[in-house]
């Protein structure tokens, strides 16, 4: 009897504490609250869509919540400003954080655990597309929600590839390179076949990943076996060779991403790899320049290979009141509704992050009209993202500058790059 009592009591205590943990206090929106949301969505279509979202939320929520969006520049700017603001004691409530920055913030406990709210509101975590769910969890907590997640797309000039005999998208890197070379030779060097910009943890990550299965950082996030197994050396040697032969464009030293698009629109570049998040803008520009734009899977050695990146929403765990945090959650919930997720995808090209949104007419109609958007989603099947690790940010910037020295500086051999990276790796990991 006594035993039973103890068990019951323990059960009650457990339940009670669990309730405390699992069910957030229903925040009482008794007074109007304004929260700030720092984001990196400055481009035309992005900004317009976000403004529409915020306006709709502000107008329709009957909790007295006002969201004020503040564009803070690129992801790196949002990250730097957020960290500075946290240090200064005046952070935003909500921030759009890049994948590389999430581990940095999460490991320092700067992100609110959304689990209690998810449980309270019965938010269905299983509805989130699995491929983009990696950066949601940290230590069993829900620290972010996917928002402007993206993958890379191969954008190519259909006519130029058709001219050299490829009237579909390439399915392997080898195939792409073969035709890229033909285009270059047929045009006597006036048109280059393909161009990449340097984003080590993104574009180069998936190319290396197609060789070694993990990319530039190991799955556990604490090493870089690509340095040892020859995969990085092979890729770097190849890339250097491609650029040396001329058919693969060397990235410009500044605004490289913009320059490849200018060259593409100017018809001096036949294909380039860029983010799916810019699909709408790239499509519009190509159309305006009379280019029949093809959008397809990105390819790696021996087949399709693709990266995942982009931004997620995190609530800042410092100097924000419970009311502000609760308000931020309401806004996140709103952004995760089917209409918002679908609209976001169609407006800009960012990935649809919930399964239910894909069933909407918005997305189905869009995909029917332009398969590029569908491809970006379907590509997730063989896309991979760089491992969740506090070293991501540092390591990828080291690899990036080493690649820059090889491809743009051209004053070092691929072997030397790998050797110097080995030395760096010893320091980082």
């Amino acid at each position: 009897m006594k035993k039973l009592f103890v068990v019951l009591l323990m059960g009650a205590v457990l339940l009670g504490s669990a309730q405390g943990i699992l069910f957030a206090e229903a925040a009482a929106f008794t007074e109007p609250v304004t929260i700030t949301f720092w984001h990196a969505r400055g481009s035309s279509v992005d900004a317009q869509w976000l403004e529409k979202s915020i306006n709709e939320f502000n107008a329709t929520n009957n909790l007295g919540i006002t969201v004020e969006g503040v564009y803070q520049g690129y992801f790196s700017d949002v990250q730097a400003k957020t960290l500075a603001a946290i240090a200064a004691g005046d952070p935003p409530t909500l921030a759009e954080i890049s994948c590389t920055a999430i581990p940095l913030l999460a490991t320092q406990d700067l992100l609110v655990d959304m689990t209690p709210y998810v449980n309270r509101d019965g938010f269905d975590m299983n509805n989130i597309v699995e491929a983009v769910s990696d950066y949601i969890y940290y230590n069993g907590q829900i620290v972010t929600m996917p928002y402007t997640r993206g993958t890379a797309i191969m954008y190519y000039n259909k006519d130029m590839y058709a001219e050299v005999g490829l009237d579909r998208a390439p399915t392997t890197l080898e195939e792409l390179n073969h035709y890229a070379k033909l285009i270059y030779e047929n045009s006597n060097g006036a048109v280059q076949g393909i161009g990449y910009t340097i984003e080590a943890n993104y574009y180069q990550h998936y190319l290396v990943q197609s060789l070694n299965g993990v990319g530039i950082l190991d799955a556990d996030g604490t090493g870089a076996s690509c340095l040892e197994d020859g995969s990085l050396l092979r890729f770097l040697t190849d890339w250097y060779e491609w650029t040396e032969e001329g058919w693969c464009a060397i990235p410009a030293l500044s605004s490289a991403s913009s320059v490849v698009q200018e060259d593409f629109n100017n018809k001096s570049l036949a294909a380039f790899v860029s983010s799916s998040n810019r699909a709408t803008t790239i499509l519009n520009n190509a159309k305006a320049n009379g280019i029949d734009l093809g959008m397809s899977y990105t390819v790696g050695y021996g087949g399709y290979s693709a990266p995942i990146g982009g931004g997620s929403l995190g609530i800042i765990n410092r100097d924000n009141s419970d009311l502000e945090i609760a308000a931020a959650w309401e806004f996140i919930k709103f952004l995760m509704t089917d209409a918002q997720v679908a609209g976001n995808h169609v407006a800009s090209g960012v990935l649809p992050v919930t399964y239910s949104s894909i069933e909407t007419d918005i997305i189905q109609d869009c995909w029917a009209e332009n398969e590029g958007y569908r491809i970006s989603y379907e590509q997730l099947d063989f896309a991979s993202e760089i491992a969740f690790s506090p070293h991501v940010s540092e390591w990828s910037s080291i690899v990036k500058s080493a690649m820059s020295q090889l491809i743009q500086g051209r004053n070092i051999t691929p072997e030397e790059v790998v050797e110097s990276l080995k030395a760096e790796a010893a320091m980082v990991f």
């Binding site: 992005d46 004020e68 503040v70 520049g73 500075a84 200064a88 005046d90 629109n265």
Partner: protein, 282 residues
Amino acid sequence: MYSKHTGLDLRRGVTSGISFAFKLFMLVLFLFPFYWLIITSFKTYGESIVFPPTLIPRNFTLAAFEQVFSRLNLWNYLKNSIIVTLSVIIIQTLVGVPAAYALARYSFRGKGVMLALVMAAFMVPTQITFITVYIMMSKLRWLNTLLPQIVPFGASAYGIFLLRQAFMQVPADIIEAARLDNASELKIITRIMLPAARSSLMTVSLFSFVGSWNSYFWPLVMSNSEKVRPLTLAIERLKDQDAGINWPVIMAGNMIMVLPVLVIFLLLSNKIISAVGYRGIK
């Protein structure tokens, strides 16, 4: 004799020819970027990236301007830029003129130290101070106001120094004459010193205007809300290199940005050029 003359004329002709060519070169050097700015803003995106570039837009379009207006709540930013710039100029004048007058005309204990402080402030770049200032502004809860963009610039070391130099050039006799004419110190400043230092004051104001109007880094750091951001940050928003930089839109934004500066410079160019020095009437 005759031949010597022609030789001289020829040399003079060559000299003035070279001088003219040099001036023309400098003119092109300085005006071409403006020309480039203007024509690009009227081009289509497609034309803005063709190589070789076109020097006259083939399809003259206002689309870039339309995009600027549709993408940005321009009036909000313009209003902020104007408020900040005018406030900075006015406060700088209200603070700088008496400070410069005191440093130029009075002798008092600690004057040397104060002048040295002003000069030291002149030399410290904002990049060194901005973090501490940011924390200060944050603690004051000012980051959602225009104050962080105004208050730290309420005194300009450069302005005080320049005005002091100008005030020092006013002969002491003239100030003494005014004192004998029973003029108050305020009247001496407003009726005697300021008119004498008009060129310097204008130079200082113009520099403040340009500095404040074009300021990008400071307001970027010191604002956490679109409501308080100036035009420079809005123009920056037009640039997104991942989506391909839309040069006509950027240039249209810059046109809007630079137009007030150009207009003011053109209106005041004579006075700016004459801002050389001042001599008492003998």
